[in-house]
Amino acid sequence: MEGINKVPVTIPLRDRIKGVASKIRKEMENEDEIRIMHLCGTHEDTITRFNLRSLMPDNLKLISGPGCPVCIIPDTDLQRVFHLIQETDITLTTFGDMARVPFEGRSLFYYRAKGHDIRVVYSIFDALEIAKKNKKPVVHFGIGFETTMPSTALAILDGIENFSVLSSHRFFLPAMDHLASLGEIKIDGFINPGHVSTIVGVKAYENILKRHRVPQVIAGFDPDDVMLAIYMLVDMIKKGEKEILNEYPRAVSYEGNEKSQMVMKEVFEKEDWEWRGIGVVKESGGNIKDKYDQFNAIKVYEDVFESFSPKEDKRKRMCRCGEVLRGLITPDDCSLFLKGCTPKNPVGPCMVSFEGICSIWASRGVRR
């Protein structure tokens, strides 16, 4: 059997997982409780899909953090998009997950059915192609963390005249820092998001380590990656070591992807933006710099947004997505979970996105 890049896989996956699981259990015998938080929806998917929580001893808890870019976008951003498509005749492009998030029961798919030109794209470059073929203005609703932001920056730098971006991009690392400062729950170790790390590199976490002294392991997304990361964290926590270890060196370097960092820095500036459930996080917003105003939908349609005022969605009053994102509760603590809120009829975004923990737990049907 061959893994990626022709590196032969010598030990079968099952043996790896079983082996590390027994090592973790042995290490955790007669120990105090350890709480590990992962920060990426894809890690939650791996953990739930392969039922890794069932392999953990009772005194080791795996908690899900705010690693879902669709989930953390507040309703204000969503209403802004709805306002724009209703007031103008544009083509709106965005990613599939985002198009399904409801506000007062209506999502972008609802507006598409009403006749608005809304297209789901896999990549912002597909949106660029639409703009090139089309005379109509194309606005891309840009979401995502550091992993996705370089692609948006590249698209803006391409300078297509009838193309602009409504940026809901957020920098993830400030939120991680913010969450650790809140101190609402005890976190003994972080599993850092693999592909955010591909862009920002190991070095980007050093300040967070200095400030909070919580061990971190950057992990890949295969089940053996996640298991090994947990073992590395347990080992560090027991020895009292506080470091950033890299379990995913095949994709993450110390420096990260410097070209990506450069284009991001060229196009975006950091602003204090709101996150769902977390509040305003300092320097976490990916605002498009003034010199690219002509590609910033907020500036291009400035007059349209003058009449915009956000409201509260009364239907989401019972939704506890915010607490889920901070790791305070698990989906089954929410009274709506699998009752009033299902993947088919989601109330909040944690049930919409493929990276939302509510959606993952509901569709995989595994709980513990």
């Binding site: 890049n5 590196v7 082996g19 929806g41 995502g144 060196p249 992807n257």
Partner: protein, 72 residues
């Protein structure tokens, strides 16, 4: 959201390349990775290559696994 898949580079027409994901081929942007060659593997996220897959590191990791399983 931050999903990325490794694909094998089949053809390069800068700034684009055709990447093969286990049979599915797609055009991807490669401006943000250095010195890419045909036959190498790249991690692709929303249509752009975010990193070359580091083969040496992947091999070393395999060795670490061997040691780990041996030590059981």
């Amino acid at each position: 959201m931050c999903l990325a898949f490794p694909g094998r580079v089949e053809k390069i027409e800068y700034p684009y390349a055709v990447a093969n994901f286990g049979g599915t081929k797609r055009k991807v942007r490669i401006d943000l990775v250095d010195e890419l060659k045909v036959g190498e593997y790249v991690l692709v996220h929303v249509g752009f290559a975010i990193q070359k897959v580091n083969e040496d590191e992947a091999r070393q990791m395999e060795e670490i696994w061997k040691e780990l399983i041996k030590s059981l």
